[in-house]
Structure formats: C-alpha cells, structure tokens
Symmetry: C2
Subunit: 220 residues, 2 copies
C-alpha cells in the first residue's frame, strides 16, 4: 500500500473559501514580489511566498512552472511594464514651451519617483542581475528601461554638447544611488530631521542639472 488515506477529516480544519484564478494569481505575484524583494532570489522560499499569499505551496506550482518563472513574472514583467508606461507618460505630453531645464528636471524627478516606488523590486533585480547566475533575466533584458534611457539621453543632448550620454548616465547613477542609499543606510546616512525626502530629491535635481551645466563651460 503505497498511498495512505489523504485528508482524513479528523481535525475540523476550516476550509478556505474558493477564490478565482485571477485573485490567486495576483495574490501569489504580490507575495512573490515582496518576498523576492526582501530576501533576494535564493533567500526567498516558495513556502514563505505561499504563506504570505495565504495559499498552499502546491497552488503556486499550478500557476507557475518553477520558482525561476515565478521570479520572472513577479519581478521582471511588472518592472518592464512600468518602465514602458512611465516612459510614455513622462515624455508624451511635453510642450514645446518647456525649457530643456524644465524637461530635464521633470525627467529626473519622475525617474526618482518611479525608483522610490519600486525600490525593493529594483534592489532584488540588481542583486539578481549582478550575481544570481541561475535566474535568467537581467537588467539588460528590460526593453522598456533601455528605451527610457535612450530617450533620456536624447533629452540631455540639447544641454551638453560634449558627451550627452555621459551626462545622462551620471544622472541615472545619481538617481539609482539615491534609492539604493536609502535602502542601504536607512536613516543613518540621512538622519531623519536633517532633511526630508522631498528636500533631498530636489537637491539632487538641482545638483544634477547645475552640475551638468557647469561642465558645459570648458576649462573649469
């Protein structure tokens, strides 16, 4: 006798209400995003994801063939989608009246908004991208991101005659760093009360734009 009685109703365990596949799917994806974000790919376990989603582990594998695929769906897809959406929202309605300064400031602000909103996702992506070889899918696979940066570089072109891509990429680095640093240092490097997020963000924008402008004048 290989199999034993299953689900013998000894303990009066209350059975969960039946939920729709859509609800299950989003519950799992949300829990996975959080777990991956908080613990990294190898740190996150399917058991923990299931617990968090209030779903049995078996159900996860009914929706997603493997942990790696779940990771891709939970982290990659949304990130890619959000970057694409963000891209069109950001640049579609730019009026010609805006100065390049204003445009650049808007680009920087919105990039930081986005990154702040998805800092944990970005964090685990960065970790995955840099070190987890087994999870196929890297930052460079995010087509939306690539397009976004290309557009941003073009936007910077009007301001920095010399090396627009360098200027733009520096700005991206600053913004990335702002997000990463807040995760890394929590309120140590920026003690609460010294300066709030808004001030810091504004400072970065000023700093970035003026920094680039200063470098436009050669021989400094």
């Amino acid at each position: 006798m290989a199999k034993r009685d299953l689900a013998t109703s000894d303990a009066p365990t209350v059975r969960r209400k039946r939920r729709s596949p859509e609800e299950l799917n989003s519950l799992i994806l949300e829990a996975a995003a959080r777990e991956f974000g908080e613990n990294g790919y190898s740190g996150a376990t399917t058991a923990a994801i299931a617990r968090r989603a209030d779903v049995t582990e078996a159900q996860i594998f009914r929706f997603f063939p493997s942990k790696a695929e779940l990771f891709r769906e939970a982290i990659f897809r949304p990130l890619n989608r959000h970057f694409s959406e963000f891209h069109s929202r950001n640049l579609a309605d730019s009026t010609d009246a805006e100065t390049s300064n204003e445009l650049a400031r808007r680009y920087i602000n919105e990039l930081q908004d986005f990154m702040g909103e998805h800092s944990r996702m970005l964090m685990s992506l960065i970790v995955a991208s840099a070190y987890e070889q087994d999870t196929s899918g890297r930052l460079t696979d995010i087509e939306g991101l690539r397009a976004y940066f290309e557009r941003g570089a073009a936007l910077m072109e009007s301001r920095t005659p010399g090396e627009p891509k360098v200027a733009h990429d520096l700005m991206v680095r600053v913004s990335f760093a702002a997000v990463l640093a807040s995760v890394m240092f929590k309120d140590w490097l920026f003690p609460p009360g010294l300066a709030n997020d808004e001030e810091i963000r504004q400072a970065i924008a000023d700093f970035t734009i003026e920094g680039i402008r200063a470098n436009e004048q050669p021989g400094l």
Copy 2:
C-alpha cells in the same frame, strides 16, 4: 554496527600537503569573500567555499563556528579595517596649502578608488545590510566608515554653507552609484569605447564639485 571503516585505502588518493593554520585561515577567508560577493549570503554555500579554498568543508568549521560567523569575518572585518586605514591615509597628510576644491576632489577620487577596489564586497554588504536579517552586522556597524563620512562632511562644510551634510551625502551617493552601476549594468549603460573608467570618474568629480558650487548661489 553504526560506524563503518573510514578512510580505507582502496583508491590511491593523493593526500594533500599539510598547510599551516594561517594559510588555511586566509585561504578560507579569501574564498568566502569571493563566494559571498558573487552569490550573496544565501547563494553562497559552504561546499562551494571549501572547493574554492581547496579545503574540505569540515575544515571550514574547525576555523569558524558557523557560516554566519564566517560571513562576518570575511566581509565585515576587512571592510571595517580597510575603511579605517583608508581614512587615515586619505586625510592625514592634507597640507594647508590645498584649496578646499582640491581637498574635495581628492576625497571623492579616493572614495571612488576604495569603492571600486571593494565593489564586490560592498555589493554583498548591501545585500546583507538590506535584506538578510539573519546575518547580524550591518553597514552601520562599520565604525571606520562612520568616521570617514563624518570627516568628509566636515570637509564639505567649508564649501556649502547651507546644508553641508546633504551635499556630502549626495556626493557619497554619486560615488556609490558609480560603483554599483558598473556592477549592475556592466558595459551596457556605459558601452566600452564611449568613455573609459578614468573619464567617467573624472566627470563625476567635476560634476559633483561644480554641482555643489552651483547650488551655493541661492535663487537658481
């Protein structure tokens, strides 16, 4: 019979030369730093560390009581030490003749030197600091780093009357970002040939210093 014959000399396995405890210790630490750096805390396995160090797994646990402790010794200790050494080396020999501009530039350059040199270590520290709750020890435990940043903030004070700490921390963020971005994006965001590391580093220094100066003049 619970125990079987151990080490029966059937296969003529060549026995390794005997190595000193010091050598073993450093072999293990070095391998551990690499493995943790490349795979993160949960991604690195003691088996892989042992293989890399050309040591049996059991030997690791003769030197270090646990994986967590090994992590602390391999990542934390050296980082802390290097920051302290770097701190004194960097600022001890500043002549009074140096302008604050030159000092700031030197601070930025050397910070970036250090970070570039230890980018992988920093990366895994970030992972640990941000997400791995089980590994006690976080960025804020690095006393050398704290002292270093305090000194740097003081150095910025002469240049930015308003909010020196914000200016300094922005600079730290830029430098961190430069390192992280190069790990994250490899040669995607900065394609090789467009600008080499030296140029980028110089640009960051200029950019940072001039950006701060621009913001000194209010009402921009």
